[in-house]
C-alpha cells in the first residue's frame, strides 16, 4: 500500500472496524480478514494495527468484548458493536458521504 493511502486509512480505521462488526460479533483475526476482503486487498495494513483501534473503541463504549471458548478449544476475545457503536457508525457514514462528495466535486474541477 502506498504511504499516503496508509495514512488516509489510519484516519478512518475506527469507522472501518465498526463497519466490519456490523454483521455480527467477531474476533480480531476475523475482523482483519473481513476488512481485507471488503477492500479487495487495498487495505493491507499490518494486522496488529487493528488491536489498538479495537481497544480504543471499547474504551469509548462503542464496542464490547468477552472471552469465548470456540469449537477448537482455543479461547478468543470476541468483539460486538454496542448500541452507541451502531449509532456512531451511522454518523461516520453520513459524515464520510458528505466529505467524499465534497472531495469528488473539488477534484473534478472544471471537468464536470
Amino acid at each position: 500500500m502506498l504511504g499516503m493511502e496508509a495514512e488516509m486509512l489510519k484516519g478512518h480505521l475506527d469507522a472501518i472496524v465498526l463497519a466490519a462488526l456490523e454483521a455480527g460479533p467477531a474476533h480480531g483475526y476475523a475482523i482483519i480478514e473481513t476488512i481485507k476482503q471488503r477492500s479487495a486487498g487495498t487495505f493491507d495494513l499490518p494486522e496488529g494495527t487493528v488491536y489498538p483501534a479495537l481497544h480504543r473503541l471499547e474504551q469509548a463504549g462503542l464496542l464490547s468484548s468477552a472471552w469465548t471458548p470456540p469449537p477448537n478449544g482455543r479461547r478468543r476475545r470476541v468483539y460486538s458493536l454496542t448500541r452507541a457503536g451502531s449509532a456512531a457508525l451511522g454518523q461516520r457514514r453520513r459524515a464520510w458521504g458528505r466529505f467524499s462528495q465534497a472531495v469528488d466535486t473539488a477534484l473534478a474541477g472544471g471537468r464536470g
Binding site: 480480531g28 495494513l45 499490518p46 496488529g48 481497544h55 474504551q59 482455543r74 476475545r77
Partner: protein, 208 residues
C-alpha cells in the same frame, strides 16, 4: 511450534510493561491471532509459517507505541478528574477548618495554606486550557496542594487539637485524594516516558 510466536508475544508483553493488565490481555489475544494466521499458512506447521504470521502482524514496538499514546490520554483524563476532585475537597476542608478555628492565626502556615492552594488552582486552570498532557503542570498542582494541605493541618494542629468529626473527615479525604493524585501523576509520567521511548525510532525515521 517453533517458538517464533512465543518470542514475539513475550517481546510485545515487555513493550507494554507500562500497563500490566493490558499486556496480559493483549498477549492472549495476539497469541490467538498469530496461531490462527500461522495455521492458515500453506507451510503450517513450520517456523516459516509462524514467521510470516508475525511479519504480517507488524512490529511489536509500533503496535505498543499506538497503545501507549491511548494509554497516556486515558491516564491524563484520570489524573485531571482526580485533580479537580482534590481541589474541591481541599477547598471545602480549608473552609471548614477556618470556620471551626474561628481565629486568624498569624504565621507562615496560613500563608502557605492559602497561596499554595491558589498557585495550584491557577496552574491547573491554565494547564487545562493549554497543556493538558503536561507532567510539569500537574506536578506543580500536586506540590501546591500537598503544601496547602500540610500547612492547613499544621496551622490548626488538627489531629492534636481535638477537632470534631466534621473537620477531621474532610481533612482525611484531602489526604487520601492527595495519595491517589500522586499515584496518577507518577503513572502519567511513566506512560509519557514509555511513549517517548517507543516512538523514538519512528521519529528518527521521519527525520531522515
Amino acid at each position: 511450534m517453533s517458538g517464533v510466536i512465543d518470542d514475539y508475544v513475550a517481546a510485545l508483553r515487555r513493550e507494554l510493561d507500562f500497563d500490566p493488565a493490558l499486556a496480559r490481555r493483549l498477549a492472549s489475544e495476539v497469541e490467538d491471532h498469530l496461531q490462527e494466521a500461522a495455521e492458515a499458512d500453506q507451510a503450517w506447521p513450520s517456523a516459516d509459517a509462524e514467521r510470516r504470521a508475525v511479519e504480517r502482524f507488524g512490529l511489536g514496538r509500533e503496535i505498543a507505541a499506538q497503545f501507549a499514546v491511548d494509554s497516556v490520554d486515558r491516564q491524563a483524563r484520570r489524573t485531571w478528574v482526580t485533580l479537580a476532585v482534590t481541589v474541591v475537597v481541599t477547598f471545602v476542608a480549608m473552609r471548614v477548618r477556618v470556620i471551626w478555628l474561628d481565629d486568624d492565626v498569624l504565621g507562615v502556615a496560613p500563608l502557605i495554606d492559602r497561596y499554595a492552594f491558589i498557585t495550584a488552582l491557577a496552574v491547573g486552570v491554565i494547564a487545562w486550557f493549554a497543556f493538558r498532557r503536561s507532567l510539569t503542570a500537574l506536578a506543580i498542582c500536586l506540590g501546591g496542594l500537598a503544601a496547602s494541605i500540610g500547612a492547613g493541618i499544621v496551622r490548626v494542629d488538627l489531629f492534636a487539637n481535638g477537632a470534631p468529626i466534621h473537620v477531621l473527615l474532610p481533612a482525611a479525604g484531602e489526604i487520601a485524594l492527595l495519595g491517589v493524585l500522586s499515584f496518577h501523576v507518577i503513572g502519567l509520567g511513566r506512560r509519557l516516558r514509555r511513549t517517548a521511548l517507543l516512538r523514538k525510532p519512528e521519529l528518527r525515521r521521519t527525520a531522515q
